[in-house]
Protein backbone atom coordinates (compact mmCIF):
# COMPACT_ATOMS: atom_id res chain seq x y z
CA UNK A 1 0.00 0.00 0.00
CA UNK A 2 2.89 2.37 0.74
CA UNK A 3 4.62 1.75 -2.60
CA UNK A 4 1.59 2.58 -4.80
CA UNK A 5 0.79 5.62 -2.63
CA UNK A 6 4.39 6.83 -2.92
CA UNK A 7 4.19 6.28 -6.70
CA UNK A 8 0.95 8.24 -6.98
CA UNK A 9 2.33 11.13 -4.92
CA UNK A 10 5.59 11.07 -6.91
CA UNK A 11 3.69 11.45 -10.20
CA UNK A 12 1.74 14.34 -8.71
CA UNK A 13 4.93 15.91 -7.38
CA UNK A 14 6.64 15.56 -10.77
CA UNK A 15 3.52 17.08 -12.38
CA UNK A 16 3.48 20.03 -9.97
CA UNK A 17 7.20 20.59 -10.48
CA UNK A 18 6.86 20.47 -14.28
CA UNK A 19 3.84 22.83 -14.23
CA UNK A 20 5.79 25.40 -12.24
CA UNK A 21 9.18 25.01 -13.87
CA UNK A 22 7.83 25.11 -17.43
CA UNK A 23 4.94 27.49 -16.66
CA UNK A 24 2.42 25.05 -18.18
CA UNK A 25 -1.29 25.94 -18.32
CA UNK A 26 -2.31 22.54 -16.87
CA UNK A 27 -2.80 21.87 -13.14
CA UNK A 28 0.07 19.77 -11.71
CA UNK A 29 -2.09 16.71 -10.94
CA UNK A 30 -3.33 16.60 -14.56
CA UNK A 31 0.27 16.48 -15.76
CA UNK A 32 0.81 13.77 -13.14
CA UNK A 33 -2.11 11.88 -14.75
CA UNK A 34 -0.37 12.08 -18.13
CA UNK A 35 2.94 10.94 -16.63
CA UNK A 36 1.20 8.01 -14.95
CA UNK A 37 -0.40 7.02 -18.25
CA UNK A 38 3.00 7.16 -19.99
CA UNK A 39 4.59 5.11 -17.18
CA UNK A 40 1.86 2.45 -17.44
CA UNK A 41 2.35 2.15 -21.20
CA UNK A 42 6.10 1.75 -20.67
CA UNK A 43 5.90 -0.55 -17.63
CA UNK A 44 2.58 -2.47 -17.70
CA UNK A 45 3.32 -4.38 -14.50
CA UNK A 46 2.80 -1.13 -12.57
CA UNK A 47 -0.96 -1.54 -13.10
CA UNK A 48 -1.72 -4.23 -10.48
CA UNK A 49 0.56 -2.45 -7.98
CA UNK A 50 -1.15 0.94 -8.42
CA UNK A 51 -4.63 -0.55 -8.50
CA UNK A 52 -4.53 -1.50 -4.80
CA UNK A 53 -4.54 2.22 -3.96
CA UNK A 54 -6.34 3.81 -6.94
CA UNK A 55 -9.34 1.46 -6.67
CA UNK A 56 -10.43 2.62 -3.18
CA UNK A 57 -9.66 6.26 -4.03
CA UNK A 58 -11.74 6.24 -7.23
CA UNK A 59 -14.54 4.25 -5.60
CA UNK A 60 -14.90 7.05 -3.02
CA UNK A 61 -14.13 9.95 -5.31
CA UNK A 62 -17.27 11.86 -4.36
CA UNK A 63 -16.21 12.09 -0.68
CA UNK A 64 -13.29 14.26 -1.77
CA UNK A 65 -15.68 16.95 -3.10
CA UNK A 66 -17.21 17.53 0.33
CA UNK A 67 -14.69 19.86 2.05
CA UNK A 68 -14.60 22.26 -0.91
CA UNK A 69 -18.38 21.98 -1.31
CA UNK A 70 -18.90 23.11 2.30
CA UNK A 71 -17.25 26.35 1.16
CA UNK A 72 -20.78 27.20 0.00
CA UNK A 73 -21.23 28.79 3.45
CA UNK A 74 -19.03 31.63 2.21
CA UNK A 75 -21.13 32.20 -0.93
CA UNK A 76 -24.70 32.07 0.34
CA UNK A 77 -25.31 35.75 -0.48
CA UNK A 78 -24.06 35.38 -4.05
CA UNK A 79 -26.03 32.20 -4.60
CA UNK A 80 -29.21 33.74 -3.20
CA UNK A 81 -28.77 36.85 -5.37
CA UNK A 82 -27.93 34.99 -8.59
CA UNK A 83 -29.89 31.75 -8.07
CA UNK A 84 -31.97 32.09 -11.24
CA UNK A 85 -29.02 32.97 -13.51
CA UNK A 86 -26.81 30.20 -12.04
CA UNK A 87 -29.56 27.60 -12.40
CA UNK A 88 -30.22 28.66 -16.00
CA UNK A 89 -26.54 28.51 -16.93
CA UNK A 90 -25.98 25.11 -15.33
CA UNK A 91 -29.08 23.48 -16.82
CA UNK A 92 -28.73 24.90 -20.35
CA UNK A 93 -24.97 24.48 -20.59
CA UNK A 94 -24.98 20.92 -19.22
CA UNK A 95 -27.78 19.86 -21.56
CA UNK A 96 -25.99 21.50 -24.50
CA UNK A 97 -22.73 19.68 -23.70
CA UNK A 98 -24.49 16.32 -23.38
CA UNK A 99 -26.41 16.77 -26.64
CA UNK A 100 -23.40 18.06 -28.59
CA UNK A 101 -21.03 15.27 -27.55
CA UNK A 102 -23.56 12.42 -27.79
CA UNK A 103 -24.69 13.45 -31.28
CA UNK A 104 -21.10 13.88 -32.48
CA UNK A 105 -20.07 10.48 -31.12
CA UNK A 106 -23.12 8.62 -32.48
CA UNK A 107 -22.82 10.32 -35.86
CA UNK A 108 -19.17 9.27 -36.32
CA UNK A 109 -19.12 5.83 -34.65
CA UNK A 110 -20.10 2.56 -36.26
CA UNK A 111 -22.27 0.39 -34.00
CA UNK A 112 -20.11 -1.72 -31.67
CA UNK A 113 -20.05 -5.27 -33.03
CA UNK A 114 -18.68 -7.39 -30.22
CA UNK A 115 -20.31 -5.86 -27.14
Amino acid sequence: MILPLALLLSFQLAGEAAARALDLPLPGPVIGLGLLLAALLAVPRLEPILRTVTQPILANLSLLFVPAGVGVVGHLDLIRAEAAALAAVIVVSTAAAIAASALTFAWLARPEATE
Binding site: L8, F11, Q12, G15, P25, L26, P27, G28, P29, V30, G32, L33, G34, L36, L37, E47, V53, T54, I57, L58, L61, S62, L63, L64, F65, V66, P67, A68, G69, V70, G71, V72, V73, H75, L78, I79, E82, L86, V89, I90, V91, V92, S93, T94, A95, A96, A97, I98, A99, A100, S101, A102, L103, T104, F105, A106, L108, A109, P111, E112
Partner: protein, 236 residues
Protein backbone atom coordinates in the same frame (compact mmCIF):
# COMPACT_ATOMS: atom_id res chain seq x y z
CA UNK B 1 -19.35 20.24 29.06
CA UNK B 2 -19.04 23.72 27.57
CA UNK B 3 -15.26 23.55 27.97
CA UNK B 4 -15.18 20.22 26.16
CA UNK B 5 -17.24 21.67 23.30
CA UNK B 6 -15.03 24.72 22.89
CA UNK B 7 -11.99 22.45 22.84
CA UNK B 8 -13.53 20.16 20.24
CA UNK B 9 -14.85 22.96 18.09
CA UNK B 10 -11.32 24.10 17.40
CA UNK B 11 -10.14 20.56 16.74
CA UNK B 12 -9.08 19.10 13.45
CA UNK B 13 -10.25 15.71 14.65
CA UNK B 14 -13.82 16.91 15.12
CA UNK B 15 -14.25 18.33 11.62
CA UNK B 16 -12.47 15.48 9.89
CA UNK B 17 -14.77 13.03 11.67
CA UNK B 18 -17.81 15.19 10.92
CA UNK B 19 -16.92 15.21 7.21
CA UNK B 20 -16.75 11.42 7.04
CA UNK B 21 -19.92 10.93 9.11
CA UNK B 22 -21.88 13.47 7.02
CA UNK B 23 -20.83 11.64 3.86
CA UNK B 24 -21.86 8.28 5.36
CA UNK B 25 -25.29 9.74 6.16
CA UNK B 26 -25.55 11.00 2.57
CA UNK B 27 -24.51 7.58 1.25
CA UNK B 28 -27.10 5.82 3.43
CA UNK B 29 -29.84 8.17 2.23
CA UNK B 30 -28.80 7.64 -1.39
CA UNK B 31 -28.86 3.86 -1.00
CA UNK B 32 -32.25 3.96 0.69
CA UNK B 33 -33.68 6.01 -2.20
CA UNK B 34 -32.57 3.29 -4.63
CA UNK B 35 -29.74 5.57 -5.82
CA UNK B 36 -32.09 8.24 -7.10
CA UNK B 37 -29.91 10.87 -8.84
CA UNK B 38 -31.56 13.71 -6.91
CA UNK B 39 -30.62 12.12 -3.56
CA UNK B 40 -26.92 12.88 -4.00
CA UNK B 41 -24.61 11.91 -1.12
CA UNK B 42 -22.24 14.86 -1.69
CA UNK B 43 -25.08 17.36 -1.74
CA UNK B 44 -26.54 15.90 1.46
CA UNK B 45 -23.16 15.91 3.21
CA UNK B 46 -22.47 19.51 2.17
CA UNK B 47 -25.89 20.72 3.36
CA UNK B 48 -25.56 18.87 6.70
CA UNK B 49 -22.08 20.26 7.37
CA UNK B 50 -23.05 23.78 6.26
CA UNK B 51 -26.01 23.75 8.67
CA UNK B 52 -23.78 22.49 11.52
CA UNK B 53 -21.20 25.21 10.81
CA UNK B 54 -23.83 27.96 10.70
CA UNK B 55 -25.61 26.75 13.86
CA UNK B 56 -22.39 26.32 15.85
CA UNK B 57 -20.93 29.62 14.62
CA UNK B 58 -17.85 27.88 13.25
CA UNK B 59 -16.09 29.60 10.36
CA UNK B 60 -15.02 27.77 7.22
CA UNK B 61 -11.29 28.18 7.94
CA UNK B 62 -11.67 26.30 11.24
CA UNK B 63 -13.68 23.56 9.55
CA UNK B 64 -11.12 23.27 6.77
CA UNK B 65 -8.26 22.65 9.21
CA UNK B 66 -9.83 19.26 9.82
CA UNK B 67 -11.31 18.70 6.37
CA UNK B 68 -8.04 19.46 4.58
CA UNK B 69 -6.91 15.86 5.07
CA UNK B 70 -9.77 14.72 2.83
CA UNK B 71 -9.33 17.66 0.46
CA UNK B 72 -5.64 16.83 0.02
CA UNK B 73 -6.55 13.53 -1.64
CA UNK B 74 -8.02 15.38 -4.66
CA UNK B 75 -4.54 15.65 -6.20
CA UNK B 76 -3.63 11.95 -5.95
CA UNK B 77 -7.19 11.12 -7.08
CA UNK B 78 -6.66 13.13 -10.27
CA UNK B 79 -3.47 11.21 -10.98
CA UNK B 80 -5.35 7.97 -10.26
CA UNK B 81 -7.79 8.74 -13.12
CA UNK B 82 -4.96 7.59 -15.41
CA UNK B 83 -5.59 3.98 -14.41
CA UNK B 84 -9.08 3.52 -15.92
CA UNK B 85 -7.86 5.35 -19.03
CA UNK B 86 -5.01 2.84 -19.31
CA UNK B 87 -7.31 -0.12 -18.63
CA UNK B 88 -9.65 1.00 -21.43
CA UNK B 89 -6.93 1.88 -23.94
CA UNK B 90 -8.01 -0.78 -26.48
CA UNK B 91 -11.64 0.37 -26.49
CA UNK B 92 -10.46 3.96 -26.77
CA UNK B 93 -8.27 3.10 -29.76
CA UNK B 94 -11.21 1.47 -31.60
CA UNK B 95 -13.35 4.62 -31.49
CA UNK B 96 -10.55 7.15 -31.44
CA UNK B 97 -12.01 9.50 -34.05
CA UNK B 98 -15.62 9.70 -32.78
CA UNK B 99 -14.29 10.02 -29.28
CA UNK B 100 -11.82 12.79 -30.09
CA UNK B 101 -14.48 14.71 -32.02
CA UNK B 102 -17.13 14.26 -29.30
CA UNK B 103 -14.57 15.33 -26.69
CA UNK B 104 -13.57 18.49 -28.56
CA UNK B 105 -17.15 19.50 -29.42
CA UNK B 106 -18.57 18.63 -26.00
CA UNK B 107 -15.81 20.22 -23.94
CA UNK B 108 -15.88 23.44 -25.95
CA UNK B 109 -19.69 23.54 -25.70
CA UNK B 110 -19.60 23.03 -21.92
CA UNK B 111 -17.13 25.87 -21.34
CA UNK B 112 -18.25 28.35 -24.00
CA UNK B 113 -22.01 28.01 -23.41
CA UNK B 114 -21.55 28.58 -19.67
CA UNK B 115 -19.43 31.71 -20.24
CA UNK B 116 -21.65 33.13 -23.00
CA UNK B 117 -24.96 32.55 -21.23
CA UNK B 118 -23.57 33.61 -17.85
CA UNK B 119 -22.23 36.82 -19.34
CA UNK B 120 -25.55 37.50 -21.07
CA UNK B 121 -27.34 37.04 -17.74
CA UNK B 122 -25.02 39.55 -16.07
CA UNK B 123 -22.91 37.33 -13.81
CA UNK B 124 -19.70 38.94 -12.56
CA UNK B 125 -16.16 37.97 -13.52
CA UNK B 126 -15.41 35.92 -10.42
CA UNK B 127 -18.60 33.89 -10.84
CA UNK B 128 -17.98 33.33 -14.57
CA UNK B 129 -14.40 32.16 -14.00
CA UNK B 130 -15.72 29.84 -11.29
CA UNK B 131 -18.38 28.48 -13.70
CA UNK B 132 -16.14 27.84 -16.71
CA UNK B 133 -14.66 24.47 -15.60
CA UNK B 134 -17.95 23.18 -14.09
CA UNK B 135 -18.07 20.02 -16.25
CA UNK B 136 -14.59 18.84 -15.23
CA UNK B 137 -14.13 16.55 -12.26
CA UNK B 138 -13.71 18.48 -9.00
CA UNK B 139 -9.94 18.28 -8.47
CA UNK B 140 -9.27 19.61 -11.96
CA UNK B 141 -12.09 22.18 -11.87
CA UNK B 142 -10.78 23.60 -8.59
CA UNK B 143 -7.27 23.88 -9.99
CA UNK B 144 -8.54 25.61 -13.14
CA UNK B 145 -10.73 28.03 -11.14
CA UNK B 146 -7.77 28.95 -8.97
CA UNK B 147 -5.58 29.61 -12.02
CA UNK B 148 -8.16 31.76 -13.85
CA UNK B 149 -9.20 34.06 -11.01
CA UNK B 150 -12.28 32.11 -9.97
CA UNK B 151 -13.23 31.05 -6.47
CA UNK B 152 -12.45 27.33 -5.87
CA UNK B 153 -15.05 26.87 -3.13
CA UNK B 154 -17.74 28.37 -5.41
CA UNK B 155 -16.54 26.13 -8.24
CA UNK B 156 -16.89 23.09 -5.99
CA UNK B 157 -20.56 23.84 -5.42
CA UNK B 158 -21.18 24.55 -9.13
CA UNK B 159 -19.37 21.32 -10.12
CA UNK B 160 -21.58 19.30 -7.79
CA UNK B 161 -24.77 20.96 -9.09
CA UNK B 162 -23.63 20.36 -12.68
CA UNK B 163 -23.02 16.69 -11.89
CA UNK B 164 -26.48 16.25 -10.43
CA UNK B 165 -28.08 18.12 -13.34
CA UNK B 166 -26.34 15.89 -15.88
CA UNK B 167 -27.18 12.71 -13.97
CA UNK B 168 -30.86 13.64 -13.85
CA UNK B 169 -31.25 15.14 -17.32
CA UNK B 170 -29.10 12.83 -19.48
CA UNK B 171 -31.47 9.88 -19.95
CA UNK B 172 -34.60 11.85 -20.95
CA UNK B 173 -32.54 14.22 -23.12
CA UNK B 174 -30.71 11.42 -24.96
CA UNK B 175 -33.97 9.51 -25.47
CA UNK B 176 -35.45 12.65 -27.00
CA UNK B 177 -32.43 12.94 -29.32
CA UNK B 178 -32.73 9.21 -30.15
CA UNK B 179 -29.12 8.42 -29.29
CA UNK B 180 -29.22 4.67 -28.57
CA UNK B 181 -25.48 3.84 -28.70
CA UNK B 182 -24.48 3.15 -25.05
CA UNK B 183 -20.94 4.31 -25.78
CA UNK B 184 -22.16 7.70 -27.04
CA UNK B 185 -24.65 8.04 -24.18
CA UNK B 186 -22.07 7.20 -21.52
CA UNK B 187 -19.40 9.38 -23.08
CA UNK B 188 -21.72 12.41 -23.16
CA UNK B 189 -22.75 11.97 -19.52
CA UNK B 190 -19.19 11.63 -18.24
CA UNK B 191 -17.99 14.56 -20.30
CA UNK B 192 -20.70 16.94 -19.06
CA UNK B 193 -21.17 15.71 -15.51
CA UNK B 194 -17.93 13.98 -14.43
CA UNK B 195 -17.97 11.51 -11.52
CA UNK B 196 -21.56 12.08 -10.46
CA UNK B 197 -22.74 11.38 -14.02
CA UNK B 198 -20.40 8.40 -14.26
CA UNK B 199 -21.76 6.88 -11.06
CA UNK B 200 -25.24 7.24 -12.58
CA UNK B 201 -24.17 5.78 -15.94
CA UNK B 202 -22.81 2.65 -14.24
CA UNK B 203 -26.23 2.04 -12.69
CA UNK B 204 -27.90 2.10 -16.09
CA UNK B 205 -25.44 0.19 -18.28
CA UNK B 206 -21.91 -1.23 -17.87
CA UNK B 207 -20.68 0.02 -21.27
CA UNK B 208 -22.17 3.47 -20.65
CA UNK B 209 -20.37 3.57 -17.30
CA UNK B 210 -17.00 2.64 -18.78
CA UNK B 211 -17.26 5.26 -21.52
CA UNK B 212 -18.50 7.81 -19.03
CA UNK B 213 -15.36 7.24 -16.94
CA UNK B 214 -13.18 7.61 -20.04
CA UNK B 215 -14.91 10.87 -20.96
CA UNK B 216 -14.50 12.19 -17.43
CA UNK B 217 -10.74 11.59 -17.56
CA UNK B 218 -10.31 13.02 -21.06
CA UNK B 219 -12.45 16.07 -20.38
CA UNK B 220 -10.53 16.74 -17.17
CA UNK B 221 -7.42 17.12 -19.31
CA UNK B 222 -9.07 19.11 -22.10
CA UNK B 223 -10.93 21.47 -19.75
CA UNK B 224 -7.64 22.23 -18.00
CA UNK B 225 -6.32 23.38 -21.39
CA UNK B 226 -9.48 25.01 -22.80
CA UNK B 227 -11.01 26.83 -19.83
CA UNK B 228 -8.12 29.25 -19.17
CA UNK B 229 -8.07 30.21 -22.87
CA UNK B 230 -11.86 30.62 -22.97
CA UNK B 231 -11.90 32.71 -19.80
CA UNK B 232 -9.27 35.01 -21.29
CA UNK B 233 -11.21 35.19 -24.56
CA UNK B 234 -14.56 36.00 -22.93
CA UNK B 235 -13.46 38.09 -19.98
CA UNK B 236 -10.33 39.72 -21.31
Amino acid sequence: MIELWSYLRQGELLWLTATLVAFLIGEAASRRSGRHPLVNPVLIAVVLLAVVLLLSGTDYATYFEGAQFVHFMLGPATVALGLPLYANRHRIRRVLLPMAAALAVGSATAVASALALGQALGLDRLTLASLAPKSATAPVALGVAEATGGQPTLTAVLVILTGITGAVAAAPLLNLLRVRDWRARGFAVGLASHGIGTARAFQVNETAGAFSGIAMGLNAMLTALLAPVAVRLFLG
